[in-house]
């Protein structure tokens, strides 16, 4: 069972207060909250880039501090916001190969991983290109591939669709769904509730450094429908007079429920 469990409170300004959270294997966990809620701070603890001032981070039951740094970062891969700022190699292949090489893997293995992850991200055709000549969406995929090439059990994405046009965003959400299917656990931070609604299995709502809600998207969003994805806002307004609407979260299920309502 792969399991990352954190309970922590860091910093001069208390950025996180008593956050307890368990990431279940093979799920897509969405972390949401306003600016300053502590989302980015929280996820940087998952691979100990930031160390908690209190509490601990457990990976599969073992305290993360006891693991070798590189080992931990291999198992919990973190992709920052606007990750393409860190692309540096002359070709896409070289860049994606960086992390696996740092892990000390053999050349053949490295090449294999590079090919696999580029294919997974739909960027295989970009292998020979210079990362700096790519479009924003392409760079984003290469950057994510660079972390995925480490073969992490958990992939943490901080605002992965920030700055992308809606079409590319859809493609990236498909990638996230694909990752889950192929056995990688995904933790996704986003301020965009609509996209979380589409991909998350569970949602954690942070506010001022504390966990306000944790559960299925339906549970979390319908508990506070004023600050929820558009789909939930619409449905919850109709629930009082039309309880048959139910509690849909994704667009397709919401559309279906509303169609029934209109007898379409």
């Amino acid at each position: 069972m792969r399991h990352v469990y954190a309970q922590n409170t860091p910093f001069e300004v208390e950025a996180l207060k008593g956050v307890s959270l368990a990431v279940e294997p093979d799920e897509v966990l969405g972390i949401v909250g306003g600016t300053g809620s502590g989302k980015s701070t929280l996820v940087q603890h998952l691979n100990l880039l930031l160390e908690p001032t209190g509490g601990h981070v457990l990976v599969d039951g073992a305290d993360a501090r006891t693991l070798a740094k590189n080992e931990l970062r291999r198992r919990v891969g973190l992709v920052f916001q606007f990750p393409e700022a860190a692309l540096f190699a002359p070709t896409v292949e070289e860049d994606v190969a960086f992390a696996p090489r740092q892990l000390g893997l053999g050349e053949a293995e490295v090449r294999g991983r590079v090919r696999e992850t580029l294919a997974l991200l739909g960027a295989a055709h970009l292998a020979e290109r210079s990362p700096h000549a790519l479009s924003g969406g392409e760079k984003r995929r290469v950057a994510i591939a660079g972390v995925l090439a480490m073969g992490p059990e958990v992939l943490v994405l901080d605002e992965p669709t920030a700055g992308l046009d809606p079409a590319t965003r859809e493609d990236l959400l498909d990638v996230v769904r694909g990752l889950k299917v192929s056995g990688t656990t995904v933790v996704m931070v986003s301020h965009d509730l609509d996209e979380i609604a589409e991909v998350a299995d569970r949602v954690c709502l942070l506010d001022a450094g504390e966990v306000r809600a944790l559960g299925t998207p339906s549970e979390v969003f319908y508990a506070s429908p004023a600050a929820a994805p558009a789909t939930v806002r619409v449905a919850s307004l109709l629930r009082s007079s039309h309880p048959e609407v139910g509690r849909p979260v994704r667009l397709d299920e919401t559309l279906a429920a509303l169609k029934v309502l209109l007898g379409a």
Partner: protein, 284 residues
């Protein structure tokens, strides 16, 4: 190409006019824009949408002289931006996509003053105009703040203040909200709506919901003008949306999926009300 006379809500000759505009970037094999023709009338609010790489940013840069067309003509007022860029830039203000890289000075008020300094305005008048511009975007108290301490929305508002201080008649907005989060986007769009006034605006964006009040929307795909239609027409044309990889936000998608008119339904609350009424009517 789809066209619409319903979109011609303003009358009179265009103050911005492009004819058969073609441009290729130096290192590129494909032209960024091919044979684009359109006009903007005074006071019109026109949106530009389309897939990435479609030529939207190129178009905007051709209009203020940052780029020079390979063939075809551009007229802003009676001026050609390629030959008289500085005169054109006195009448055209541009807001860029990256909020950080548009701020030149180490302090907010100095940055707002930048354009005025370039015009050689006297200091007294500069102070007055800077003060008013900062007020207009709601950043009173931010005068001595340093850019790196500001949020994305605040940075774009500083950039907007810099534009307002110059009082241009034409605004070119190149995806001003695409790097902002939802609250930043709201911040900037609110101010833009208030400050648009009688100005002529060309607004490039990926968020079609920002263009619901526009007079017309141009669709640029692979360097060609695919459509020049009203917002209602665009929102209700599923094939046009699909061909140009345009996606609608959830509320509009739900409305379209339910066959409801999309123009008046912007917020979840409005949609819910509409559905409530319709289903209530049905039940009766």
């Amino acid at each position: 190409m789809k066209n619409s006379d319903e979109g011609a809500r303003r009358s009179g000759p265009p103050i911005v006019f492009c004819e058969s505009l073609t441009y290729s970037y130096p290192a590129s094999t494909r032209p960024a824009l091919t044979d684009v023709t359109f006009g903007l009338r005074a006071g019109e609010y026109v949106g530009v949408v389309g897939p990435n790489g479609g030529g939207k940013s190129t178009l905007v840069r051709l209009l203020n002289g940052l780029l020079r067309a390979d063939s075809g003509s551009v007229r802003v007022g009676s001026l050609d931006p390629a030959t008289e860029p500085y005169l054109v830039r006195r009448r055209v203000g541009m807001l860029f996509q990256n909020p950080d890289n548009g701020l030149v000075a180490p302090f907010v008020e100095d940055d707002v003053a930048f354009g005025l300094e370039n015009l050689g305005i006297e200091r007294e008048e500069m102070r007055e105009r800077v003060r008013e511009a900062i007020l207009a975007v709601g950043l009173q108290g931010y005068e001595r703040r340093e850019p790196h301490t500001l949020s994305g929305g605040e940075k774009q508002r500083v950039a907007l203040a810099g534009l307002i201080a110059l009082d241009p008649e034409i605004l070119l907005l190149d995806e001003p909200t695409s790097m902002l989060d939802a609250s930043g986007r709201r911040e900037v769009m609110e101010r833009l709506e208030n400050l648009r006034g009688e100005r002529t605006v060309l607004h490039v964006t990926h968020h079609i919901e920002e263009l619901l009040d526009s007079d017309r929307i141009l669709v640029l795909n692979a360097g060609r003008l695919a459509a020049d239609v009203s917002p209602e027409q665009l929102l209700s044309d599923a094939s046009l949306l699909r061909e140009n990889r345009l996606t609608l936000p959830p509320v509009l998608r739900l409305a379209a999926g339910l066959g409801l008119g999309t123009a008046k339904l912007r917020t979840p609350e409005e949609l819910a009300r509409e559905i409530g009424e319709k289903s209530g009517a049905r039940a009766r």
